[in-house]
Symmetry: C2
Subunit: 271 residues, 2 copies
């Protein structure tokens, strides 16, 4: 038993979709969340810069006595995790492995689609792991740079011409290859799951890394015997690098709950 918190970070707000799943799956676990809202988004930045920012994010989280780190960010998970995980002595979980495990389980025709940020797609991290687990898989991927700003501006509804246009343009080449599984490789994308699902059609299973990661973390805690005490009331703290007010307002979109009063601002320059 281990009541120390789990550290979770994301480039900004998208990771809260994973936090919501973590809270549902692990209601007794304390969570410390860092959203680097002062430098969001990471998805279009270079690998070098993403690794630098990720190291600062982790340095901040490990300034607390935490038992594990969850990278609730597709971009960092794909681009930086492989490079940096060896440098820390607590478990670090990204969203790639849990999503890949799920995708290779559910695909029947072994044709898997993948969407994400430019950095995530360029990293090749999903492709590499899928092919390790299922060497005969065929992977069809697309970088979707406009989906994050569209989601963050609330263009998430069925019938919205901008999100419908973006989704259909980005996904047309993937749909044409008749995939039966699509990995939503960015924590923003579950918010437009219905628009994506409508476009892809009923025969395609959508895999949300946030949800899969929550289940994966539950197993990890059990396996390492570091789960928190059952029935305890968990505490959740949020740290951001831009204004608290902006975060609190936007967080409700991603988390479906009010986080006011639990949010602090932090300067990562010293980490």
């Amino acid at each position: 038993m281990d009541n120390r918190p789990i550290g979770v970070f994301d480039s900004g707000l998208g990771g809260l979709t994973a936090v919501q799943k973590l809270m549902e799956t692990l209601p007794n676990e304390d969570i410390i969340y860092l959203g680097d809202t002062g430098r969001v988004p990471y998805g279009g930045r270079s690998r070098e810069t993403i690794i630098k920012y990720a190291r600062q994010d982790i340095a901040f989280l490990t300034s607390f006595d935490i038992k594990a780190i969850v990278i609730a960010c597709g971009t960092v998970s794909t681009t930086a995790l492989g490079e940096i995980e060896k440098d820390y002595d607590i478990p670090i979980v990204g969203v790639v492995r849990p999503a890949v495990e799920r995708a290779v389980q559910v695909t029947k025709n072994k044709r898997i689609g993948l969407i994400g940020t430019v950095a995530s797609i360029n990293s090749g991290a999903y492709d590499k792991l899928i092919l390790q687990r299922l060497p005969e898989a065929e992977i069809f991927s697309a970088a979707c740079p406009l989906l994050v700003p569209l989601v963050e501006n609330g263009r998430i509804s069925r019938g919205d011409i901008m999100i419908e246009t973006a989704v259909s343009e980005y996904l047309a080449p993937i749909k044409a290859r008749k995939v039966d599984t699509l990995i939503l490789g960015c924590t923003h994308y579950p918010l437009i799951g219905d628009v994506i699902g409508d476009y892809m059609g009923e025969g395609v299973t959508l895999v949300s890394p946030g949800a899969e990661t929550a289940a994966y973390v539950e197993q990890l805690l059990k396996k390492n015997d570091i789960s928190a005490e059952k029935g305890r009331r968990a505490a959740h703290r949020y740290f951001v690098t831009d204004s608290i007010e902006g975060f609190s307002n936007a967080a409700s979109l991603f988390l479906n709950q009010d986080v006011r009063g639990e949010v602090s601002k932090v300067d990562l320059n010293s980490f």
Copy 2:
């Protein structure tokens, strides 16, 4: 006569539209450009964070022996300039005043439209200065948070359904108020000047702060007798906070010329 360079900065790439105008207007002036591509965009961030980043940008530029600073960024000009300009002893020019001077000259019906980032519109900086210069003006403004990501993703052409939809949604309330002048309060917007012009119609004059700022800087240099020697060959250097390669590729969109080989990377954490 003063051959020292002019320092120019922007949150990222948009400021290059102003740099292009500066180069045309002032072909003998050396320019040092800083694009904070590792933290772009600024337009959705809090005032406090924008001021902090602007001070770092200026600290970097003033580490060179420069004679003036041009803030080629609508967001910094509106949100931070008033707060910080008193702290430096060389002239600092933003894009607001030059654009306002032009707008109050060209408007006949004294109904002026204004578009910009969330931070720019919230600052009220344009409104305040317009009303100082033309107290009977009526100002109709709209924050357009999706225009920057759309432009940066190349959605700039007439007929592109995403940019056409965004432009018409953002501008409909302004057009309905029958403005005869529209200030494009963000350095990205001149790249979609034709889409905006089509939507607003022939009777509306578009004011591009970058172009007005170049003319304003020319006057400032003359007035202070700090213009560079005529006929000299000017040098242009570019600094960025994310990868050089990403900048060089994207810069051609904004600058219409190849900047490869003149770009360096800088870390602003120490400024």
